[in-house]
Amino acid sequence: MTIRRLPESVVNRIAAGEVVERPAAVVKELVENAIDAGAARIEIVLREGGRAMIAVGDDGCGMERAELALAIERHATSKLPDEDLRHIATLGFRGEALPSIGAVGRMSISSRKRGADSAWRIAVEGGTVSEPAPAAQQAGTRVEVRDLFYATPARLKFLKTERTEAQHALEAVERLAMAHPEIGFSFSDDGRTVLQLTPGADDLFEARHARLAAIMGRDFADNSVAIEAAREGVRLTGRAGLPTLNRATARAQYLFVNGRPVRDKLVHGAVRAGYRDVLAHDRHPMVALFLEIDPEEVDVNVHPAKTEVRFRDAGLVRGLIVGALKHALAGAGHRASSTVGVAALGALRPGSGLPYSSGPYSGGSYSGHGAPPSHAPRGLAEEAAQFQSPFSDLARPSAPPAEGGAEARDFPLGAARAQLHETYIVAQTADGVVIVDQHAAHERLTHERLKLAMHAGGAARQILLIPEVVELDGPSVGRLAARAADLARLGLVIEAFGPGAVVVRETPALLGEADVQGLVRDLADELAELGESLALDARLDQVCGTMACHGSVRAGRRLALSEMDALLRQMEATPLSGQCSHGRPTYVELKLADIERLFGRR
């Protein structure tokens, strides 16, 4: 067989395999083109999940007749003005999308240059290009792709259901829409409009907040903190959800680099590190982070679909993200997500399926006479009864304020008023009621203290009678040896032991009789992946957490008022005190307004 050059059509189809893997990829490429064209509104229309038709229209700069013909050639683009791959300021630049799509579907492009008086249309079918013809079109461009993958039946077979494909396409649009709040988007599938976003206000910050709320939900907007940090020319903005607002998967984590949505291991790892000791291991926070970085410092040309990026200084980016998240979360301090409070209220709300609905709201389940409702509110009803009758016991602490100390309005968590079931502390704040889980709260306090002790003094180390030799590959040994000093500070003393092993001489006393082999291997892996000794930190944290759990006030212990007040004051002073070490809330807050609503006073 002789070597020959592949015909253009085959080359395009191969390229299409990389760029156009499913309808969502086509949508993404076309919407990116529209964004790069400076559109203010973008309309996406799908039929049969994109299989029958994908149309993306914009009101951007448009193209002239001559440009149209060029647009569908491979490696033809308007986006690299100075032909310098180090300065990529647009979403696209490879000049591959249109010819690739044209290679696997029936594509037509109609466009009218801004200010021009005529529009032109060009069609590509399975790689064959027609002559440009006059067309009717507003300023801007409309690309229509019909019968996607008709030229590559194998790919067609691998498509999922219409619904799934449409969902993927929608997610692609949502991600781009989050990064561009100034652009209006509409997305419809088989005539049903599923997404309608108006162009945001002039203020970028406001616009983005509104856009995030529209896409990630009101809960996220209400229960997230703003992130803003910059270091050495890298700027990080966005919002991070409170730890109590969490998800079972990492899907609600949206990351953007220079307006480009990416899925990057480094960034996801950094987010995980940022939330490390406020979230349980298997829960994931919701975040939307926007990273702005000099295009020279980042390489987006890693993969044709551009979902992966490489940073020149990965450590800086990672450090910035972890630092900013930790800072913002610590600043949110003891704020627990109001969704918890709202959920509690939901349970309290009368009429929510009570087996009681005979009379038209006659008694009002909480009036105090009449039987208490038979489910969740029972405990509260009993307490309410106590509140009403023997006032003496509960009222006393607030009477001499000098002794009780705290005045409700002086502190965010208010003044302790009572303890319920020897488990929960009830405190009165300026505008509501706070219920604290005493064990969870104290556990967090102890945990933080232990962590502090460890960082302050360095961890105590048990010297090994029989040093443990751990066999590893060469690079891992090098990486571990390079971090030996840091590891020693955390209590793990290791030395390189020939080219393929390390010997462990001392271990952190906190770990007791640890699985040294496992610890060192995990450390080596983690170092390879992240370049930071996270595993050891995390494990010590885990031990701290467990110890904190055992060393803390248990549920069921009766506390004096002064003890309760002390606990509340410490919580206010401790970072991250809104959650216990396992990510459960340590307290919930009920606003007076909500309570009034419960009783129909509002």
């Binding site: 105590a460 010297i463 009678l465």
Partner: protein
């Protein structure tokens, strides 16, 4: 099967046998006890596939037969029967149900077929020797606290038993270590012990044997090969697999040139360590020992609890030294020292320290403890 047996006899045997049975079993037959009635004896057996126990007791056997029934359930039933009652066991025709009667109580237990019950093959056990129950207790007590619980180092999860020669004396030695401390106990080699293989007896077998020889003066026959060990005691036979691994060369970690010798009243020392370490609540439980001529100052501090010191009198004539230890390890060792005084032989704050019972210098027990950096 038709058997009548005294509750107390049955209960004692069942107590031994059921403790081998794991609480959670994926293989149903392993939850059961094998009951064999023949010629005036009732034999009970249980196994977890690594360890097997068989105990025989006297019973009135009217109709000999065998079956298996849930061990823990059977034990709990017999335990709750009134004292002094007679227990009648009867296997219905077909063998599906075992009926237990005592007084006016009647239980029906489902059975599993006898042929499903796994028989652990002991193979040939070429070596055999006898030990006093008391000697076996000593051997276990002085070493087992140092057995490692870390399963990745499975070869440390037991007591290393072997014969050795020191000078002209032939010795039987037991050694256990968890990598932080080491305990060694030795005694004159019993007859028949010459040439026994060096083996590692797993922790569970040690625990079961220890229970069996509690308050007894009888002699225990120990038989072993390279892969199995068997303890025969009165009417109980306990057979265990051995840990298939190599115990580390422990002699290398026992220092020989330590020169700082401290002697202290063991009880006073243990109580002081216990008191002082109350303050360091965290898991590390570090206690610092500051030694100077004639005096030992113990100190500990906890992050949010405070600090503590206590001084005690010791026999010490060497240079001053500061050394940290895990309080729990010190207490473990102190609790095994039977004599009045303990002897510490030290070198420096980063090298192993030897602890001995002052009353049996030269033989018996020896402990090696690695310091902590505090």
């Amino acid at each position: 099967m038709k058997v009548t047996i005294e509750r107390a006899t049955l209960l004692k045997a069942l107590a031994h046998v059921q403790s081998v049975v794991e609480r959670r079993n994926t293989i149903p037959i392993l939850s059961n006890v094998l009951i064999e009635a023949k010629g005036g004896r009732l034999a009970l057996s249980a196994t977890d596939m690594d360890l097997a126990i068989r105990e025989e007791v006297a019973a009135e056997v009217a109709v000999p037969a065998s079956t298996t029934a849930a061990a823990h359930t059977l034990y709990d039933i017999v335990r709750k029967l009134p004292e002094g009652s007679q227990v009648a066991l009867e296997l219905a025709a077909g063998g599906g149900q075992l009926t237990l009667r005592a007084g006016r109580a009647r239980f029906s237990l489902s059975c599993l077929p006898v042929d499903e019950f796994p028989v652990m093959s002991a193979g040939d056990l070429p070596h055999e020797f006898a030990l006093d129950a008391g000697a076996l207790r000593d051997l276990i007590d002085h070493t087992r606290f140092a057995i490692s619980t870390e399963e990745t180092r499975y070869y440390l999860n037991g007591i290393h038993l072997h014969a050795t020669k020191v000078g002209r004396a032939e010795l039987l030695r037991a050694v256990a270590t968890d990598g932080h401390r080491l305990a060694r106990f030795q005694m004159p080699l019993p007859e028949g012990g010459a040439g026994i293989p060096a083996v590692i007896v797993p922790r569970k077998a040690i625990a079961e044997v220890r229970k069996l020889v509690e308050d007894s003066a009888e002699s225990v026959r120990v038989a072993l090969s390279e892969t199995r060990i068997r303890f025969t005691f009165e009417s109980v036979v306990l057979t265990s697999k051995l840990i298939d691994g190599t115990f580390p060369d422990y002699e290398r970690v026992i220092p020989t040139d330590n020169d700082k010798i401290m002697q202290v009243d063991n009880k006073i020392f243990a109580e002081a360590v216990d008191r002082v370490s109350t303050i360091s609540k965290d898991q590390s439980r570090a206690v610092k020992l500051v030694l100077s001529r004639g005096s030992l100052v113990l100190s500990a501090s906890g992050q949010d609890t405070g600090s503590a010191t206590e001084e005690i009198e010791v026999d010490y004539a060497g240079d001053g030294i500061e050394i940290g230890f895990n309080a729990r390890y010190l207490l473990d060792i102190a609790s095994q020292i039977r004599g009045e005084r303990a002897k510490f032989v030290m070198s420096d704050a980063a090298s192993p320290t030897i602890v001995r019972d002052s009353s049996d210098d030269g033989d018996g027990s020896l402990y090696v403890l690695m310091p902590m950096r505090v």
